[in-house]
Structures are given as structure tokens and as C-alpha cells.
Symmetry: C2
Subunit: 106 residues, 2 copies
């Protein structure tokens, strides 16, 4: 989507056609982005955690990481943990309710 590109989530090279050329890695990243959007994250949150989203473990960028970036990542990690807690709590409430229903239905 051009939308993701405009938001700085992915990049594309242009071939002579002026057509967008998506790398294989970018294609995979789109998959992850859609997952995260589907999980309720905003594009800004996703952009914040982009440095962690490279699939091959080795060519990850470890240089040029500012303190600001680290702080942002820690914040985002904590927000995710918060979110996970809320969701897990409510999922468990649903599960408990369902088992209780089943118990009462004999």
C-alpha cells in the first residue's frame, strides 16, 4: 500500500518505469505490519518498533541507535505488555464465563 510508504513504514525503489519495486523483505514486512495493525497498533507505534522487525536475525541494524530510540522502544515494549495484560485478563474472563456456562448446563 502506498499508504504505508507515505507513513514511512516501508520503502520502495523505483525502476525506470517509475513503477514501485518492492523487495522481498519489504513484502514480508507488509505482512507484519498488517498483523500489527490488525492487533490494534497505530502506524506510529509500528514505526517506533520498525528496527526490531527485520526477519533475518543477523543483518539487524545495531549502529546509529540513539538514546531516544532506545527510550521509545522501552516505552513501546511496556505499552505492549500493558495491552497484553488487558487482553489476557478479558480473554480469561470470557473463558471463565464459558466454562461456568458449560458447568451449569450439565
Amino acid at each position: 500500500m502506498r499508504f504505508y510508504e507515505a507513513k514511512g513504514l516501508i520503502t520502495s525503489t523505483r525502476s525506470a518505469n517509475n513503477y514501485r519495486d518492492y523487495s522481498e523483505a519489504t513484502l514480508g514486512r507488509v505482512q507484519q505490519i498488517r498483523e500489527l495493525l490488525g492487533a490494534g497498533l497505530s502506524t506510529q507505534a509500528i514505526r517506533a518498533i520498525l528496527p526490531c522487525l527485520e526477519s533475518p536475525r543477523d543483518p539487524i541494524v545495531f549502529e546509529g541507535v540513539t538514546f531516544e530510540t532506545v527510550r521509545a522502544l522501552e516505552r513501546e515494549r511496556d505499552r505492549l505488555t500493558e495491552r497484553i495484560d488487558v487482553l489476557a485478563r478479558n480473554r480469561d474472563a470470557i473463558a471463565d464465563y464459558l466454562t461456568e456456562l458449560q458447568r451449569r448446563a450439565n
Copy 2:
């Protein structure tokens, strides 16, 4: 918020003033609703799991629950689990990245 009321997430009685009168329970529910909205759920998803959100454990409604409702709850529980998995996976990726950064910084 009138918005939640219009969406069928909460109810309010009207006093003679025509002012809205929110019960204590409704007030607590608003808290939960905001949590869930903040966690990325839609109002429709929240409405689907409303039956599980009563805080006192006992006066929960167990009668008049249709098969449809049960199916919806199971679906919503699975969607939540899915979401949780995605978020946990990415949070762990962030955490791993951060520890790796720290390791390389000696």
C-alpha cells in the same frame, strides 16, 4: 460518554431532570470499556463480550444465553488469543533487540 450509550455498551436511567443517572456498576464498566478500546478492540467486539464484564462474580446473567451468544463469545475469545499472540511475539522481539543492544554496548 453518550457515545457508549448510543452504541449499547452502557445504560443510564433518567431522573426527573432528564439528566442521566449512571449507576456505580456502569461507572466501573466505562473504565473497562476504555481499557478495551485503548487495547484496540472495537465497540462491536466489546459489546459481544459485555456479558462477561460484570465485576461482582455472582449476579452474572447465566439465563437466556443463546447458542449464538456462546458462539460469539468463543469467537471473540479466540480472536483475543490471536491478538495476544501477535502482540507478545512482537514485544519479545523488542525485548530481544534491547538486550542485544545492551550486550553490544558492553
